[in-house]
Amino acid sequence: MSRENTITLAHGAGGKAMRDLIDQVFVEGFGSPELAALEDQARFDLAALAANGDRLAMTTDSYVVDPLFFPGGDIGKLAVTGTVNDLAVGGARPLYLSCGMIIEEGLPVATLERVVASMKATADDAGVRIVTGDTKVVHKGAADKLFINTAGVGVIPAGIDIQAGNARPGDVVIVNGFIGDHGAAIVDARGELALETTIETDCQPLHGLVATMLDTCPGLRCLRDATRGGLASVLNEFAAASGVGIRIEHNAIPVRDEVRGICEILGLDPLHLANEGKLVAVVPAADADTVLAAMQAHPAGRHSTAIGQVETGQPGRVVLATGFGGDRVLDMLVGEQLPRIC
């Protein structure tokens, strides 16, 4: 391909320009044999899949973050970890990803290459391959720079049964570290506040941590990554699906000072901020200490801590002990979290 500097509509037209883009940016960048075969679909050996477990897990997610690059990550890293994590929290071993890109014309090719390189590095880290893809180019204004969709396939080992409805009174609620970093990093990276601090996203794959947790506690009850809607949403999903109450100690929830600061300024609640490398687990009380120790020994779980427990309580209700003496109900957000006026 003549090395053009920007993506044009020609790159999505199905002809030679598109073929060149696929060859030089995607096939070369992702470096997977399935993609290099240039068939319309990736093909897998069923017996090899079945050797990993007895159920196939599949998920999809789209990534539209603005800005594309932010401290600690970028849209590409997010697109891989997000889908890997959605597989991992079901107990699945993530194996293959697809990658659909919707590109706004005018995007610098170098930007696209940077994103692809980031996806490749993250996929290698997570032990998954990007095996099939699609590219569309749309008119200026029809998309914002770059949107990515990834779907993922993984295999769930026999005997693992993780479900939001499995929590029982007495169980312990655990998180794997600081809450709200990603949401705060994005607010910060948009630069509208001109803060002096830099907050990094927590974007990281969680499948290794989950595998460690399952090794020590195969009876792990509930597991979800706390992305949009934050910790509060996941806790409410567990409480509702399990028909139990959950009681959380506010002071036990790890939140970085920088994140608390940005929330204090804007009137946001860290418990509603998005995370991209944080999971919430419910484990039987008898296993809590061993699971916690194993998590803390893993790089993705060094700051893991217990934050509360499952109670009979009022089914579906999450209660937060405020740490000041009173309690309050911790609900899901109604809409988007909007900064308060004064």
């Binding site: 509208e192 506040l193 000072d257 608390r260 600061g261 204090e264 804007l266 009137g267 209700r317 209660v319 405020t322 740490g323 000041f324 003496g325 009173g326 309690d327 309050r328 109900v329 609900d331 109604v334 809409g335 909007l338 900064p339 308060r340 006026i341 004064c342």
Partner: protein, 373 residues
């Protein structure tokens, strides 16, 4: 975290809580109904719910969550005007975030944005002025909203615009005033409030003096209060001590921020740009004399109400709404006929369900759906 954690100290909270219980215990012996204390400001309401402060209080004291949530009390007609301005093709309409969700008679600003209006969330009016500088071909309107707390920054932005000769910036002024509104509450016949926690950040601007008439003429004690949970408890304790010792005066708990005379520069800026309106319409409370400000004639070029046609339609609150009674402490949110059904934060019918600082939304979100909760 420094300057935050000190004001959320559990030990100090417990000490204050004990004192409060002791005083209320003494006071309750001579009373047939609970003491009603109104926190006027939505920021206080937010703190009270966020930290579960109501549960720390004895039965003999009842918090009444007042009308001081500027987002909540914005009448639908004004929101309709915002939407109409925002939908003009040349306009970039800028607003604080939480005003975007307030329902108009047809749509909110959030919905107008989805329908194609250029509505942008800003953190300060200066951000809006920067947009005007960056887009000289567009008209940038800032939606000025709030009590005396936010008035100075709006006024200073207008002055800055004039200094720079920026002609494509204007203000849609919906600023409201605290004291006439408290007076309206005090003058309403069904009012039974015994004392007030007064808004700290409004007082930072206007000082202590404008509140003196409340203690002097209405014989209601008042404490100017900060926004951390210990501020609230300490102020309640100060107020209770006044009842206990038989005083009635204006006290200032929030001295670390509120100078007794307020902020002269801020007041001068307000006075230069704004003048009192004859009356302003409130959601839930109706029309209140002198409860809003408009831009002075000298700033007509920066006044969206003069630059454009603003209809200011009168749209009555739904008949079933009892926001007015809740705000005055006559009923609790859960006593309202439509609380929780059909009026919810997702589908607010009344003013107090609109923002998280509104009393009804706070009750609903924090699970006080029933008396027993």
């Amino acid at each position: 975290m420094k300057f935050v954690d000190e004001f959320r100290d559990t030990e100090k909270a417990r000490t204050l809580q004990k004192e409060i219980h002791a005083i209320v215990g003494r006071l309750a012996r001579g009373r047939s109904r609970p003491l009603q204390v109104m926190e006027f400001c939505g920021g206080h309401t937010h703190t009270i719910f966020r930290y579960g402060i109501e549960q720390m209080l004895p039965d003999g004291i009842e918090m009444v969550h007042g009308p001081g949530c500027p987002v909540c009390v914005l009448p639908m007609g004004r929101v309709d005007d915002c939407v109409a301005l925002a939908e003009r093709p040349e306009v970039i309409f800028t607003t604080f975030g939480d005003a975007m969700r307030v329902p108009g008679s047809k749509k909110s600003l959030l919905q107008a944005k989805a329908d194609g209006a250029d509505v942008r969330m800003v953190y300060s009016p200066l951000d809006a002025l920067a947009l005007a500088r960056a887009h000289p071909e567009r008209e940038v309107i800032f939606f000025g909203l709030g009590f005396e707390t936010t008035m100075p920054s709006t006024a200073l932005t207008v002055l800055q615009a004039r200094r720079e000769g920026i002609g494509n910036f204007s203000l849609f002024c919906n600023h409201i005033t605290t004291v006439p509104t408290i007076k309206a509450v005090l003058d309403s016949p069904d009012m039974a409030i015994d004392g007030f926690l007064a808004p700290g950040h409004v007082s930072m601007v206007i000082g202590e003096a404008p509140f003196q008439f409340i203690a002097r003429d209405y014989r209601k004690p008042l404490v100017i209060t900060g926004f951390e949970p210990l501020d609230i408890l300490q102020s309640l304790w100060m107020l209770l001590r006044q009842f206990d010792e038989g005083h009635c005066e204006v006290e200032n708990q929030y001295r670390r921020i509120v100078p007794p005379r307020g902020n002269a520069q801020a007041l001068a800026a307000i006075d230069e740009v704004f003048e009192i309106r004859e009356f302003f319409e409130w959601r839930g409370l109706g029309s209140i004399d002198h409860s809003g400000v408009k831009m002075r004639e000298a700033f007509a070029d920066y006044d969206a109400e003069r630059k454009f046609t603003v209809r200011n339609p009168k749209i009555a609150d739904p008949k079933s709404c009892q926001c007015g009674e809740v705000v005055k402490g006559v009923i609790k949110p859960w006593d309202c006929k439509i609380f929780g059904n059909p009026c919810t934060p997702e589908n607010p019918m009344g003013a107090l369900m609109v923002s998280s600082e509104g009393a009804c939304a706070a009750y609903f979100n924090h699970g006080y759906g029933r008396r027993s909760a």
